[in-house]
Subunit: 163 residues, 2 copies
DNA sequence: CGTAATGCGGATATTGTATATCCATTAGGA
DNA sequence: TCCTAATGGATATACAATATCCGCATTACG
């Protein structure tokens, strides 16, 4: 069980977007170069973010992406689910109904106990991610990253910012 | 991100084994028929359980599997990780090191902040599964399953028990 | 205007993993 | 001795993740 590579990519992309000045945009090309990932494929992931309203894209030269709402209103769960989908990690196929000693077509009432337990763990995972906001990450990075690294990064980004 | 089908299968298999009388065994064939899943493939999953000491297989006719320790000492996490592996759901590839503005070969100290947050969610998931024992599941099933279903199941299993 | 850069969506190729099956071997009960 | 069982290796199949390519509509800028 493993999350897509795209999840890591868009989380870092969102972190970058969250540290940009208000209203500034970055192109897919810039984000891909910054993280060393394939531009075309990253583009797909960013489109997923745009479709659920986490980022907002604009066309033309000087186009690109920016956050569609304040970083404090974007959770890790929002981002992960935009790329990965909202499904459960445990898929119950109701194999308890297959027992040859059950009457054919048997359908029990209520969800499978095994599934209930697995889904509770899923909920705990989601709850943890829902509690983490993008702004908290940006703050943390601003506090812990060495100053020289931050200024070099800021300089590189400044040259790539559109609009 | 989805768990293997095998995870569902072995969880239900362990539930059955936990409800068997002390020392009784069930063959892969019986477990596969009971759940309506392919015997050969289920066998692989059960072998994974045997390798980490959750179940114990024996050869020959009247052979089969039984739990290797009390159901109260087996957690859902034990079973899931036996099949799925103990790896994290989020794999950090350190793309933060790829930034073209960083000095080449740059390696930051400490884990990536993004990864730390994702791993915390993984930990919450694992904690939840570690807290659920196989005996608790068996108790729950014994309490909630309709009596007629339980007796029919017990009868079917009795005919298949080895040793 | 026209040109180039951008996001967007569709189509497709490539790779890798989950799923599934088969077989040879070993071991044990009848 | 024969049958049945787990074990482990090899292999086939299906499907999803990864990656690339192309055509299109839009828009900034000269």
């Amino acid at each position: 069980m493993q999350l897509r590579n795209q999840v890591e990519w868009v989380l870092h992309c969102c972190a970058i977007l969250a540290m940009l000045p208000e209203g500034a945009r970055l192109s897919t090309r810039a984000l891909a170069e910054f993280h060393g990932v394939p531009k075309e494929y990253l583009s797909k992931a960013l489109q997923s973010l745009a479709q659920v309203g986490i980022v907002e894209g604009s066309l033309g030269p000087a186009g690109g992406y920016r956050l569609a709402r304040p970083a404090s209103a974007i959770s890790f769960l929002d981002i992960v689910e935009a790329v990965e989908g909202g499904g459960r990690s445990f898929a119950c196929t109701e194999i308890r109904c297959n027992a040859p000693c059950h009457p054919p077509g048997f359908r029990p009432e209520g969800p499978c106990q095994v599934a209930r337990i697995m889904w509770r763990a899923d909920d705990a995972w989601r709850r943890e991610l829902a509690a983490q906001s993008l702004s908290a990450l940006a703050d943390q990075l601003g506090r812990e990253l060495p100053a020289d690294l931050q200024s070099r990064t800021a300089g590189w980004l400044k040259k790539r910012i559109s609009s």
